[in-house]
Amino acid sequence: MADQKSLSMTVNGRTRRGRGEPRLTLADFLREQALCTGVHVGCEHGVCGSCTVLMDGEAVRSCLLFAVQADGADITTVEGLAPDPETLHPVQEAFRDCHGLQCGFCTPGFILSVAAFLEANPDPTDDEIRHGIAGNLCRCTGYQGIVAATRQAAAAMRAGE
């Protein structure tokens, strides 16, 4: 077995330690060692965006990063977004309200991408939304509900600030 490196990172506010070969992807580390199975792997080649997580606040594709590259980083997965067990994050709430998901497989990646997008652009036009989320693929919804959800979440997050 190739040499194993020990790994440590903050995942959803908790320190997660683990081990892995240098080739272990961040997606696999998060799914198998940090047990965040909300990180979904849809292509493993950086196009679909299902595996999106926030690394030090930035949306990244965890299938394209090795776990060692995230050693010491602060990671947020979809499991870490809701403030408490009774309340959803405004983006999560909006996806539910607007039917932004059907099978739900692309959803964690979309929710994190939208959260990061709205952080950078709190008041986007529809056109900006469509281009802003064009880095994620959804095969179920035809994006109608996702665009509407992004619109709703933007308004809710602006109102909440």
Binding site: M1, E21, R23, L24, R31, E32, C36, T37, G38, V39, H40, V41, G42, C43, E44, H45, V47, C48, S50, T77, V78, E79, L81, A82, L88, Q92, F95, R96, D97, H99, L101, Q102, C103, G104, F105, C106, T107, P108, I111, D126, I129, R130, H131, I133, A134, G135, N136, L137, C138, R139, C140, T141, G142, Y143, Q144, G145, I146, V147
Partner: protein
Amino acid sequence: MAGTAAAGRYVGQSVKRLEDPRLVTGHGRYVDDIALPGMLHAAFGRSDLARAAITQLDTTAAEALEGVRAVFTGADLNPHNDSLRASLYPPTSPAPPANMLADGDVRFVGDPYVMVVAESRYIAEDALDLVEAEFEPLDPVVDYETAADSEHHVHPELGGNLAHDVAVPNPTQQEAFENAAHIITETWHQHRQTNVPMETRGIVASWQPHAGVMEVWASSQSPHEMQLVGARVLGIGEHKMVVHFGDVGGGFGQKMFLGREDMAVLVAAKLLASPLKWIEDRRENLMASNHARIEQMAVSMAVDGDGCFLAADLDQLEDDGAYPLGGPATPGAMAAMLFPGPYRMGPVSWRARTVYTNTCGRGAYRGPWQMESVAREQMIDRVAREVGMDPLELRRRNVLRPGDLPYEAPTGLSFETTISPEQTLEQAAEMIGYDEFRAEQAEAREQGRYLGLGMALYIEPTSMGMGPLGTESAMLRVEVDGSVNVFMGTGSHGQSLETTMAQLVADELGVRPEDVTLHQGHGSGYGFGTGGSRSAVIAGGAARAAASGVRDKVVAIAAHLMEASADDLEVADGVISVRGTPAASMTMAQVAATAYQNSDALPAGMDAGLEHTARYKAPPSTHSNACHMCVCELDPGTGKVSLLRYVVSEDCGVLINPMVVDGQIAGGVAQGIGGVLYEHCVYDESGNPLASTFLDYLVPTAAEVPELETGHVVVPSDTPGGHKGTGEGGAIGAPPAVFNAVADALAPFGAYPNRQPLDPDTVLGLIASASD
């Protein structure tokens, strides 16, 4: 109960989905989230050649790698399974050999010929690199148009490449042709596409050797197909096949049937007596799961001087690939029979053939026979152009009107009085502002802008009530606390059945949707699963019948306990009350507690408990219909097509949940747009797939799919609740609508497209060759 067509307290409302709280927080349970103690991982070695003899296969080095548990070849695994047959495929029909793994020769790029089982997927893939295999290339059969005549045979066992050939000539069609004012002929081509669920295929199988039980978690649309066919593959009883159903990340037809890999995993898990997981990667999914829509239909249509359709002659040819998923299919026959669609068409002659090629097998993809709408609707636009008539006017002249119904189509299908093609045609025309658009288009052309409008009108047979597809069951139990568990044979993978079935049960039984939990998979009664736009009618029929059976008992118990007349009671939101006297009431929980825990208090002779099982048998077919209209702009400099507007008017009967219906339509429309403009599983002449990543296989993004406007015509069907199916429709109407829009925009150049995809290169080529 039957024929209760009105919306209810919850039916007809856009109830928020019960699935969503877990899915938006990352707490779904997809197959790859299953981890069992001691679980091993499988990876498949796949052919890089379209057709070749395996001259050497040495797995010694792979087996020796640390962490590898076993390496299987075809010779090891195939003897353990004698059939790839799915339950829809007749056992006596000729089919490819039952090779889960290629044995002796490979038959398409991606054909699995070796399977490694190891402690991790990483190690399994390392070991694949150590398998020593040598191949002697053979001439592949890649082109399906010439496959039937090829001297090379994809499956030598079958003695030829023709899988099916069905012809139904109609002598009066010839006669009609002789007297027609116009006969217009074209061959319409679709191209190779694939389903692309965002979750690839996958399975976890765990064998309990002494008990003889196989426990399975699968990404499936049909847990009972897995139970039935899996048990047959393993040679065990269905009662020993425990199929768990979790969250499934889309399927669109791909996950209805077991793939060869699924079967290989089941067999290997049993041989190894160890839990085994296989998760398909995207490259495998794009090149070796299933492809679809590789077909053409040659159409001749006879039309009289007023534009009335007189007769048609059809010749359909489809590519089955090497190992069609679910068995060699004959969708061409369905496509031909459905060709008349929502029009008075006159006699139709048809022929339908499928052929094998050394390519990825064909499988069902949302609206598997939608070639009927593609060929017909594109043909109608062509006819309009040839006879100089407006395409909307031509459709108006021929569309089935309420007075024509019920209608026996010349190909043998019958349409009930509850279809509404004319109404959806008119609603769509109104929504898009048809006349205004034509004026705007003319103006734009003067300014050098090329706009096009395309439309498509179709009838979809949903909820087929025949054979294995004909029924679904629901086992419904009110628990002691008054909450409800319902067990069904469905396989919801995005269709929102946990919500829509709960809405039906809530109205029928008199509880709230959130009081109802739907359970699928193990423990449910046989059902074909979710696909074919069948769940609203067939599963819905079962859910209603089960709920209604329990409701009768709830009312009888409450009447007895409250000393009221059953006729005076109403049940809503879990409360049984005397109509007009709301103070006189009791709760579902009180009734349930009596039924289970104080059965001596029940009316004399009544059985204890509060549960009911019902199986609903659907009528042979329930039809929904819709009209799609869209507007595109074409840039003649770059060949780029942009969609500016997209309108759908549809009739799926009584909507259970309008938000869910609109979502189903939108998803199908996006797939249709992708199919016509972007997606293409390209093969080169040697049979190499060139689109094996998402960089080459272009799934549309939010930037390519326009805002969708939907309108609903509601003519209730005669089935319980008045619903009709809606899952596939978007993907049926969109391809011809988008195609016709582009053809309309190209008309000023004198171009006549007859094949997809209409990517920028193709569009520029059409413009260039038309001006030559």
